[in-house]
Symmetry: C2
Subunit: 544 residues, 2 copies
Amino acid sequence: MSIPTTSKQTLGIIAGRLAIPTLVLDPDPHCPAKQVSVPPPGTAHVDAVYGSNAAQGVSRLAAQCTVITPEIEHIDADALQGHGNVQPAPETIRLVQDKFVQKKHLKARGVPVCDAVGVDTREQAERAVDALGLPLMLKRRAGAYDGRGNFVLRELRQLDGALAALGATTDGEFGLYAERWAPFVKEVAVMVVRDVHGETRSYDPAETVQRENICRLVLAPLRAADADVARARAVAEDAVCAFAGAGVFGVELFLLDGGAVVVNEIAPRVHNGGHWTEAGCATSQFENHVRAVLGRPLGSTAMVARCAAMVNLIGGDWDFDNAVDIAMGVKGASVHVYGKTWRAGRKLGHVNVVADSDAELRARLRPILLAIDDPDVDAYAPDSPERGVNHAFPLVSIVMGSKTDLPVMQKAADVLDEFAIPYEMLIVSAHRTPDRLYAFAQGAEARGVRVIVAGAGGAAHLPGMVAAMSALPVIGVPVKTTALSGVDSLYSIVQMPRGIPVACVAIDNGMNGGLLAARMVGNSGAMSSWMQNQSESVALDPRK
Amino acid sequence: MSIPTTSKQTLGIIAGRLAIPTLVLDPDPHCPAKQVSVPPPGTAHVDAVYGSNAAQGVSRLAAQCTVITPEIEHIDADALQGHGNVQPAPETIRLVQDKFVQKKHLKARGVPVCDAVGVDTREQAERAVDALGLPLMLKRRAGAYDGRGNFVLRELRQLDGALAALGATTDGEFGLYAERWAPFVKEVAVMVVRDVHGETRSYDPAETVQRENICRLVLAPLRAADADVARARAVAEDAVCAFAGAGVFGVELFLLDGGAVVVNEIAPRVHNGGHWTEAGCATSQFENHVRAVLGRPLGSTAMVARCAAMVNLIGGDWDFDNAVDIAMGVKGASVHVYGKTWRAGRKLGHVNVVADSDAELRARLRPILLAIDDPDVDAYAPDSPERGVNHAFPLVSIVMGSKTDLPVMQKAADVLDEFAIPYEMLIVSAHRTPDRLYAFAQGAEARGVRVIVAGAGGAAHLPGMVAAMSALPVIGVPVKTTALSGVDSLYSIVQMPRGIPVACVAIDNGMNGGLLAARMVGNSGAMSSWMQNQSESVALDPRK
């Protein structure tokens, strides 16, 4: 069983920053957490087991501490009982240890979870397949960690192999449970912190990318419709209400097609899905855990960076030191090396990356994912597209009523190319594709778009309608018409009623639409240089 | 002599995060740095002095380490000599220790510094007053720290007291120097990092606020004209070229009226003026120091937060624990408690604060400065002004050609009040006050303004001229005229030439000007709610 000693170490460091002495219970006298925390005079770390038969070790710890907080759920919960201030509560540890019990507990409290049945015999396994269908998740009820103890059963003939892989050898004592497969569109992690007074705060939901049941990559904030993000957060906070005690709870959820959310499982501790908060938030999950269990004021869970990600460095067939050096050179990256001996499949470190936009985040992730041979690099951190191809993570969305507007709107795109601002260009017609208009305007912000440039001619409704359905700033470009030379387009765009503003530029001036968008998304340094160049290029003698 | 052991501790923690073992030389076997770093098997921290007679201790350290980095300049530089890889170089330590020698060294290298003369006798002190005028800085050449060892001589009759306070008792052996007073408008700190290969990066210049020669508050980025900020950075980088070796150098400068910059002094180490980088940047000064001296890739020195500040917690007549609790509850704040025994005037901790704007930063600083009884709280973290009063740190600047535009533009202000967005309202006439226009447009961004809303009527030049002189997005509000009903204003504002965009809204629609500004500065959640309310307030039966 792998022990996430590094999180324990970080908790110790955070406590140290607040001048709070920490003692560590761990069988290894040289474990990372003990390396960063010298016990105050008269106290000592405890070198003892905690997985089972931990009573003696916990007693020695408890005799020296005012608060005990388990940092792993695979711990002797009985040993914690009766030792005063244990956060979260020993019964919480007990409840989550058996994941089938955890699931039934959540379901009984009205928290949405996947249907599950206990599996202790081969016959029960077959019945589970009949009842819940394929693919089917088979999981160990206890002791699973980092994907070990999970099996995705895709066909019935895999069953014997699955049972063997899960160590279910004695019929009647399999200790497994089967869970209906969740057809998720995204896996999500929400870190929730509750203090000893019951105050609860949650961090922004983040997308987790798992492969072989191990978390590889976490991306925050979650890019999904606002309502779905809010639902994930609410469900996570609800789920934590089912458990007693203070501290951080890592809630793993599935976001299903259509926006429904189900809880996968809950860890009553800081969680790999929340490591990004170290770089992305002013108060990390680690610091809020320490504050929560000590009854100190909670810190804000709001993001400080606009976008954040975490990459796990998991031992593989690539050069670790080289990858660390590459990550160190990436702007916005901070590298954590755990100092553990290399082993294939072992979490050896992680890299946090922050950025000002999704596009920038993905561009920063790319060399790191390439360095660790991540097979999904092109999916999560694609190369920038060629000129003329829509960016997968645009900051600016250029829309127009029809293809005839392209010559005008292309000028906006050209400017954004010049400023290396990621954009997309779409045809959205207010009159001919109203559904598409609605979906576009409602969804743009959730995709990370920050400014919309809309071009239209005549009864030019597109910019105003987009502005009516999105809280983003909308720039309108009136396209010249034959009948009224674009004065019709201009009036339609600029004369918006009170409440719904459109930023109108000159007739046919797509270039100014692009420049205005560039001013809005920032980097005024680049804009100042551009203006300086423009000044210098002005011919000062009209006869030459 | 106070030892900044906390910085040493942070360096050890950072090294630990990269799995690099650290040994510490300090006479105190329980000093903070030793508390967070357990030596690897077969090695040991060194309990020995370093200020003088450090040869033996340094030898013991050097025998166990591949790199030695002094974290304080008050160290036996001779003892470091000949010990292989010492970063920065021992001669750098020697050069900076005697601040008068440091100053002459900088001057000889062409770095701008204040005029200074050595003072070893009372007569030399009097001659210095004649030569350099009053007020005059009298400083100890060596061993000064946190303001001790400095005296501002305002009148000649203070001289004897000053000499006594500086310990200058033996005529002929004062060991002082006198420095011409710098009539600074701001004190500035720039952290510069240079790696072993000579690559140099600097952090954003920050304003430092000193009182009684002790740093109280640091604010980043420095709010000054772009050219002045660039000059401060360039001078700091130049100054560091005068010293050999790798690591972070803390450069203290004075920004004089008119934009000139002079170097005050340089510390060849991480510096209190750079603690804000822990929260404000992806790679802090501490981490870049570790990387630099080890020859690992440097991290980015760019800010991750838009605004950052650091408050020193200096022992005073206020409740320390209460202040820490208050700071913990402030959004964007991270608290560092050094665990030192309380002593008046002692640095006991610091609080970093990040925010998305100057106004937000100052609002967050206010409760912290109040909790530590900072007498300058109203200067640096004023209360929000009442409605109708310009904010000292506006995000939006509302300008208009004349007072007759106020009824229209007041609507923009009302909207910003509703969204709690800090703004200012000014009269700037393109035609009647062109100088003011120029100064306003050129200076707005350096003051932290992010959007300009400009109202004008008739030959409405104001929005376009502001847009031509600032890289910020400019919103134009055409004000209705009697002659042409505002169509003249509209055309003047919207029909801008290619290259200089103005975001034009409807005639007399100041409200939409404000709403567009609100959309641009962000907080789309608030805008969505506002739009939702507007939807719900629409009467759906025209007869009622």
